[in-house]
């Protein structure tokens, strides 16, 4: 399964995590996450995923984008990630990921986003 395929399961993974939705209940935002070359557009409403659109979307506007390489996501989603591949900021520090846009909603809900983007770890394939 490709890293993008694993990320496409995000709605089911978040549905199965009521505590994470509870922690994100103050958050409604549109943002973008790139898994390698493939963009995903997340519409988050009260901590739940109202929509996850895969692939390019014409003129779609988002608050911020987090992007990382396929290799970085694969390592990040290992059951026990290696040192230096275990946190979103470990990835940005080493240059395997980047952030842009209005980071305020991200920083206001930082642990929620870290945990949201780590959800595919539950489906770790080890490959």
């Amino acid at each position: 399964m490709s890293p993008a395929d694993r990320f496409a399961a995000l709605p089911d993974l978040l549905s199965g995590d009521p505590d994470l939705r509870r922690r994100g209940r103050w958050l409604s935002v549109d943002c973008r996450v790139d898994i390698g070359a493939e963009p995903f557009f997340l519409s988050i409403s009260d901590g739940a995923l109202a929509a996850l659109d895969r692939g390019p979307q014409l003129m779609r506007s988002t608050a911020f984008t987090f992007r990382a390489t396929d290799d970085a996501w694969t390592r990040y989603w290992a059951t026990i990630p290696e040192p230096g591949w275990h946190d979103l900021f470990a990835l940005t520090k080493r240059g395997a990921a980047s952030l842009e846009g209005d980071l305020r909603p991200l920083l206001q809900n930082l642990q929620y986003f870290k945990d949201l983007l780590a959800l595919p770890r539950q489906s770790a394939t080890g490959t």
Binding site: I80, P81, P83, G84, H86, D87, L88, F89, A90, T92, K93, R94, L103, R104, L107, Q108, L110, Q111, K114
Partner: protein, 281 residues
């Protein structure tokens, strides 16, 4: 049934730091060689509660963990409301020496983590003869910044939650969840702007590149220990620092991150007990 009491006792001591009166909170346990413990930026002495409750350590060491001014239960100095808090190499060194003086400690061992580790390097540079041994956890002469500290103190972002959210990534995935979340809880409780003020020392004022070369470990032994999951002070940062200090003992800790004593006490124990045994002789 007798109450189940933890062995450490908490008290306040009055100390003057650079001529300014302070009321410092500390906890202590044990007897023998004084071992002063320094918490990380934006946190407090509770990070050392497992060490303070470890009879293997407290039978030979009098462990004292104090809260820096502005942290934990140490109040800021009078008039704090009229300025912005900023820790500097000078003020941090003065606070540690003032605590040791106020407690009348004779040649203590000092162990600090993160900013506490960095300042331990400064103690080794500038005041080595006053200490029996120095232990720097997660320390290096310099580290590359990985976020903008402006996010740590602004009215539209919850300071405690953003501090905890940032440092959560510095905890190793192997660390037990209960200790991970207790470590983060302490971060959520820091005063407004305190973590940011501590990082002024870390980022701006406390660059010890070049200076560490003057450390003489024959005057005072120095131990460096860094967790492999610490991407703030990486193992490479610590090893680079160690290469400049003849006689230093350095160790990279497996399955541990930036907060060894609080995020994984049992694992940290495996690494720190041999160091303390060597110091005790």
């Amino acid at each position: 049934m007798a109450p189940k009491l933890d062995p450490m006792v908490g008290r306040y001591v009055r100390a003057e730091i650079d001529g300014v009166p302070h009321r410092l909170y500390f906890e202590e346990a044990g007897q023998g060689i004084p071992l002063v413990c320094l918490h990380t930026a934006g946190a407090d002495n509770r990070q050392y509660r497992h060490l303070l409750a470890d009879p293997e350590i407290t039978r030979r060491f009098r462990v004292l963990a104090f809260d820096l001014p502005w942290h934990g239960k140490s109040t800021p100095p009078d008039g704090w409301e009229r300025g912005e808090y900023r820790l500097t190499t000078e003020s941090y060194t003065a606070a540690i020496r003032a605590f040791c003086r106020a407690m009348e400690l004779d040649k203590p061992v000092v162990m600090g983590c993160s900013i506490g580790g960095r300042i331990v390097l400064n103690l080794a540079i500038a005041h080595a003869a006053q200490f029996r041994a120095l232990i720097a956890l997660e320390a290096a002469d310099f580290q590359q910044p990985w976020y903008d500290t402006a996010w740590l103190h602004r009215p539209d972002v919850h300071g405690g939650e953003v501090c905890a959210g940032l440092v959560s990534g510095l905890i190793a995935p192997q660390s037990p969840p209960v200790h991970r979340h207790e470590t983060l809880w302490m971060y959520m409780q820091g005063g407004p702007g305190v973590f940011k003020g501590d990082l002024y020392f870390y980022r701006v004022d406390g660059d010890l590149r070049e200076k560490v070369k003057s450390i003489d470990t024959k005057v005072c032994p120095l131990y460096l220990l860094t967790g492999e999951y610490d991407f703030s002070c990486t193992p490479d940062d610590t090893l680079r620092t160690a290469r400049q200090i003849p006689g230093v003992e350095v160790q990279i800790m497996k399955d541990v991150g930036h907060f060894p004593m609080s995020e994984h006490p049992a694992k940290f124990r495996e690494y720190i007990l041999p160091v303390l045994a060597k110091i005790a002789g």
